[in-house]
């Protein structure tokens, strides 16, 4: 029974999400768009984490995608949609090159190197003022779709849905076993004939492209880039907190986390214009200390143990 219900619910939810702009106000739509962008980042970060590699490079690829899109738009007159695709392609090229270097690293060395690479990106962009506008940033004349928020929403929604789809594919095909075994024990993974580097590069590439495209869409929406705001560590910290709160190593964890924290911080903004982001830091610390599996992981565990108990009782 469960097998037939699940696709129906999914299709209903997608249809509901598509027609949502006709029912809700502009403000809520805007909040949802932001949440979907962060959801994409959170999920793509989590995809990399499932291989056991903690990447701090989210903000870097986000920013590179944003700049690639803006520059092709303003300099070479690309159509915004084409420029977003180009941004994805450009980030893929960079991630491919970097992947060969950094994916041999493990543990804190991988994390810190990706963080340093983010910094290097922002320094390079700040020092190429002719192309990138330097420290003051760059503005393009037109917002994507001439500011039609319904179309923008659909664009962002489709990116989020594609990300969810990819994440589910990763979780339901044999890739899942390969990635899990790499995370758990690389020696065993290698002796089972898994091409560790190949899988890492594949996941790294896909997650970076998603991050780059998220950055491209985000800036097309606001038509503005600057090294400070585009490479802001918020684009790393918020997605991380979302994935952690929801539950890492799962698709729905990041989705739930993004919704919970996205709405919570939007609500907090009303009371605390300064420093409402502290909620993210507190959440990260509390979750790490007390609920390492996150909301989704913990509830799922509870349900499973409940079922097992029930079964053993009835027997």
């Amino acid at each position: 029974m469960k097998k037939t219900i699940f696709p129906i619910i999914t299709i209903l939810a997608i249809v509901l999400l598509i027609f949502l702009p006709y029912f809700i106000g502009a403000y809520l739509l805007h909040v949802l768009m932001t949440i979907f962008i962060y959801m994409t980042l959170a999920l793509s970060w989590d995809m990399m984490l499932r291989t056991g590699q903690l990447s701090f490079g989210v903000a870097g690829f986000f920013g590179v995608g944003a700049y690639a899109s803006i520059i092709t738009c303003s300099r070479f007159g690309f159509n915004p949609l084409v420029s977003i695709l180009f941004a994805g392609f450009f980030v893929a090229l960079i991630a491919l090159g970097l992947g060969f270097a950094v994916l041999k690293l493990r543990d804190i060395y991988f994390s810190v190197t990706t963080l340093a690479i983010t910094m290097v990106f922002s320094v390079i962009i700040r020092n190429m003022p002719r192309l990138t506008g330097g420290a003051s940033g760059k503005v393009i004349p037109n917002v994507i779709f001439n500011g039609d928020s319904t179309k923008t929403y659909w664009l962002i929604l489709s990116l989020a849905l594609i990300t969810i789809l990819i994440s589910e594919v990763f979780n339901r095909t044999k890739i899942h076993f390969a990635i899990n075994s790499i995370r758990n024990d690389e020696i065993i993974a290698r002796s089972s004939g898994i091409n560790i580097f190949g899988y890492l590069l594949f996941v790294f590439l896909i997650s970076s492209v998603l991050q780059g495209m998220a950055g491209a869409i985000y800036t097309q929406q606001y038509r503005f880039v600057s090294p400070e705001t585009t490479f802001s560590l918020d684009f790393l910290l918020l997605p991380m907190a979302m994935a952690l709160v929801g539950g890492i190593y799962s698709t729905w964890g990041s989705v739930i986390g993004a919704l919970v924290l996205g709405f919570a911080s939007e609500y907090l903004k009303l009371f605390m214009p300064y420093g409402h982001l502290i909620i993210y830091g507190i959440m990260i610390v509390l979750i790490i200390l007390f609920l390492p599996k996150g909301i989704y992981g913990t509830t799922k565990d509870k349900i499973i143990t409940h079922k097992i108990e029930k079964k053993s009782l009835s027997e």
Partner: protein
């Protein structure tokens, strides 16, 4: 003991290379050398506590720079409310951050000592965020500064050199010497070195690792307090003023290797001088940050490829 001789030899080689490097720069760009030594001293002073925590407690503290910011703000309060000179408030700052380190260790760090590295990194990242946002809530983002009469530049001929900044390398050396004395001569220090080398072995021979971790963590925080008060007269204070030092300090540790405190000083001054050279080339001032990150990435990659894959 055999090993020790070998490290002594390699240390001598590094030292000679280091001195030659300094002399060459001194002839080529004397001003860059002076600036570089001053700044490198500061980098080493800030890098030492990170190295201490990473080497002995085994935790990479990503909130390192933000505790430095916190120290700067506390020093600013001392100056602003009670007009206590930053160099005098060094002592209270040491103890305040020492206490803070104790609290942070006992409440938070202690719980993740045995957890995965991932969790440890994320925890300190979360702490970093809390501190930044807390500072924004309490003091807003308005930059503040402390003015002292002695921390101004001296003009020599046609170039101006800040004399005060020579305190950075001096303090770095002083802290390094005291730390080395502590680690080599006191019982607790010897225990700390033992724990740093092999925590399980240290536990087996009866060292209370928990106490060692607590003390080392707190001392490292105390040093952060000292660094904050030393740099206060010449540093603008704002919520992110310490933040870049986290990565820079880690770059130093990655360069020097774990447990090599002397290497921090050599590496810090080398990087400081390299940065000053890049900054002295007209038109390329903005690229100086790449020096640090570039070297960090290069060193990590080199180490990774030099290690045989196993």
């Amino acid at each position: 003991m055999l090993n020790l001789e070998k490290t002594n030899k390699s240390l001598k080689k590094t030292l000679i290379a280091f001195i030659i490097f300094l002399i060459v720069v001194g002839i080529w760009k004397p001003l860059a050398l002076v600036y570089g030594i001053q700044r490198g001293g500061l980098y080493s002073l800030i890098g030492l506590p990170l190295a201490l925590i990473l080497g002995i407690v085994g935790i990479l503290n990503l909130a390192h720079g933000d505790f430095l910011t916190l120290g700067l703000y506390i020093g600013y309060i001392f100056f602003n409310s009670w007009s206590i000179d930053p160099l005098i408030s060094m002592a209270p700052l040491f103890f305040i951050l020492f206490g803070l380190g104790m609290v942070i260790y006992s409440i938070l760090i202690k719980r993740v000592l045995k957890a995965e590295h991932l969790n440890q990194l994320l925890l300190t990242f979360g702490i970093s965020m809390i501190i930044i946002e807390l500072i924004k809530i309490i003091w807003t983002t308005r930059p503040r500064s402390v003015y002292t009469s002695y921390a101004s530049s001296v003009t020599l001929g046609n170039m101006s050199i800040g004399m005060y900044e020579f305190i950075y390398p001096a303090m770095a050396i002083a802290v390094l010497v005291i730390l080395q004395l502590f680690l080599k001569k006191t019982r607790l220090g010897q225990a700390a070195s033992a724990v740093g080398q092999n925590p399980k072995g240290a536990e087996i021979v009866g060292i209370n690792t928990n106490v060692v971790y607590l003390v080392v963590f707190s001392i490292a925080f105390g040093i952060i307090g000292v660094a904050a008060s030393v740099m206060l007269p010449r540093t603008p204070v704002f919520p992110l003023s310490g933040n870049p030092y986290t990565l820079k300090s880690f770059a130093l540790v990655a360069m020097a290797g774990l447990g090599n405190l002397n290497g921090i000083l050599i590496g810090g001054i080398t990087l400081g001088v390299a940065e000053a050279i890049v900054q002295s080339i007209p038109g390329y001032e903005g690229w100086s940050d790449v020096v640090f990150f570039g070297i960090l990435i290069a060193v990590i990659l080199l180490n990774a490829y030099r290690r045989p894959e196993s």
